[in-house]
Symmetry: C2
Subunit: 143 residues, 2 copies
Amino acid sequence: MLSNSSKYALKAVLYLTLHSDEKNKMMVKDISEKINVPKAYIAKLLQQLAKRKIISSAKGPKGGFYIDKANRNQPIIAIIEVIDGKRRIESCMLGLEDCNLHRPCPLHSLISPSRTKMIQLLESKTINDLAKDLELNKSFLPD
Amino acid sequence: MLSNSSKYALKAVLYLTLHSDEKNKMMVKDISEKINVPKAYIAKLLQQLAKRKIISSAKGPKGGFYIDKANRNQPIIAIIEVIDGKRRIESCMLGLEDCNLHRPCPLHSLISPSRTKMIQLLESKTINDLAKDLELNKSFLPD
DNA sequence: GAAAAAACATGATATTAATCATATTTAAGA
DNA sequence: TCTTAAATATGATTAATATCATGTTTTTTC
Ligand code: FES
Ligand code: FES
């Protein structure tokens, strides 16, 4: 469903949402340690996210990554789309080019409704929504 | 979600369900051509499925793979479990060891219900159920 | 009981995804 | 304006999947 990279990216973004803002930027090194993902690996992912404005960044001393107001209100799926691409999550279960309603594969009627639901939730829930759950101890960031 | 291998396996099993029985076995070569999957690749998958009794097989001249009555009534998920393993489909979205209800990851509440639903359907629908849909032109096997 | 036709077992190669490394650019602060 | 601290860009390596190849065993048929 999600690539490893997307999982890491999501962890990093949520961590940043809880622990950074315009005034408090975080360095790759610290993020990496806290979320337990190799530094060079998460660096690459964070750079991709920054380039696509999912998160914010500043170069130079006192620089780092952070999440600003606008970043916070983006849907979860934005992260996944940048890292995995839209296709991965929406593609046909049996490997058809597109999941085509006019010529559905044998699994389509079985799983399509559930998947559509999932995607809708990923589209409607924001980064901030998930961060709130974490703050309220309704959920937990895995090591 | 599903590996390529699982997708191929499922295609092959459904094709066999429609075109084989105890009296009419099919050789790898023919299956491979019909479902458009490389011969050596699908052969390996079919052998795994046969060893785990998901499908049937017979060696020697006039041998081949086929689906018998018992095979037909197995749940779809049996195929996926043999090829991908149970873990792949049930694992936590954020990469936790198990999807743990006592310490759910941030995505859990969002996607777990949909995923559970999907799994239940894969458990309850049989190979035969999907084959029926194909016969009635309610669904189609991808090339 | 020998020859051939099939699955079976095992291993090799190729492709993709995950991980690591390093040189370049930018901006802060002395 | 020089030094340094950070992200950025790019590419190299490693590991996991997907794909291909080939020798071995079983069973039919003559
Ligand atoms: S056509 Fe395959 S999942 Fe929709
Ligand atoms: S704990 Fe992550 S999906 Fe359930």
